[in-house]
């Protein structure tokens, strides 16, 4: 990809300080999408039709909450800055994968019934994390494998 810059979709926004509910709602939705907070009031996602659409809906939310929002399409001027942004986003999901790994480790000590429920929860969580993982970190593979191993452990009758 030398010399090839990725395209990004950006949401530039300003929300009134109060009430805080729209601000928190927006933060939550941006986090679920895996957006990088470039600056206060500027969030970025790799450009694709879905991400663009999701940010457009968030822009509407901001305007409805009495704020201002615009959607931008752009690329970083320097490859180093692009790598830095990607690394930051990878580090954020790496944290989420580490949490899954820790939960799997704890689940192996749980009684069978509870372990089954934990497995269902961790599968959902893993799916959520993968949906916002644009630059897969090394933690992804072990987290996936750990959940699969937990699944096999749940399938086996207790010895």
């Amino acid at each position: 990809m030398a010399g090839e810059r990725a395209s990004w979709v950006l949401l530039a926004y300003r929300l009134p300080r109060e009430p805080s509910t729209p601000r928190i709602g927006l933060w939550r939705k941006l986090r679920r999408l895996g957006a990088a907070q470039v600056l206060d009031g500027l969030a970025a996602l790799p450009l694709d039709a879905r991400n663009r659409e999701q940010l457009e809906w968030l822009a509407d939310d901001v305007v409805q909450a009495g704020g201002e929002a615009t959607i931008w399409i752009g690329e970083l001027a320097s490859a180093a800055q692009e790598r830095e942004l990607a690394a930051r986003m990878a580090e954020a999901v790496a944290d989420d994968y580490r949490n899954v790994l820790a939960d799997v480790a704890a689940a192996h000590a749980e009684p069978q019934g509870q372990r089954r429920r934990t497995l269902a929860r961790l599968r959902r969580e893993l799916r959520r994390v993968k949906a916002r993982d644009y630059f897969p970190p090394p933690e992804r593979e072990p987290a996936q494998r750990a959940v699969e191993e937990l699944a096999s452990a749940v399938e086996e009758p207790v010895a």
């Binding site: 939705k29 679920r32 039709a49 879905r50 659409e53 457009e56 809906w57 822009a59 509407d60 939310d61 409805q64 799916r127 949906a131």
Partner: protein
């Protein structure tokens, strides 16, 4: 009547188009545009930024249609939960069908043009409606 929405339809727009043809306007004609500015003057826009029949207050466009046209059919509201989760995945509702439906529609959007996608997905929504209708009557899933 003519209806306009953004091209490259996914689950919410496909479901809205089905809803329009079945419950609002049998002879509906659909126009697909790239930008809200391209909506023809005689067309009603939906699932686009800044229009009434679109995302509002955390609802997806399908839910906006049900409210706007006062469609109180509980089966449609059951389907609305699935569309909401397939489109927004905000876990407001428990809709285990949602990720599957989302993938099916996204796949169709890769292999078919918008008008074909609407033609192919309509029978899917017909079936979903019938399934949910029977489930509601039986109090459990039909066989």
């Amino acid at each position: 009547m003519r209806w306009a929405t953004r091209c490259h339809c996914h689950v919410d727009r496909a479901a809205c188009a089905w809803l329009i043809r079945r419950f609002v306007d049998e002879g509906a004609e659909f126009v697909f545009v790239d930008d809200p500015d391209e909506v023809p003057a005689d067309a009603t826009p939906f699932d686009m930024q800044g229009v009434e029949l679109s995302h509002h207050d955390g609802d997806c466009s399908f839910e906006a249609f049900l409210r706007r046209y006062e469609l109180h059919d509980p089966v449609l509201w059951d389907i609305a939960k699935i569309i909401h989760e397939a489109d927004l995945a905000d876990e407001l509702y428990d809709a285990p069908e949602a990720p599957g439906l989302d993938v099916l529609l996204r796949g169709l959007s890769l292999t078919h043009e918008d008008d074909e996608l609407l033609a192919l997905s309509a029978p899917l929504f017909d079936g979903l409606y019938e399934f949910k209708r029977r489930a509601l009557l039986l109090g459990r899933e039909p066989s």
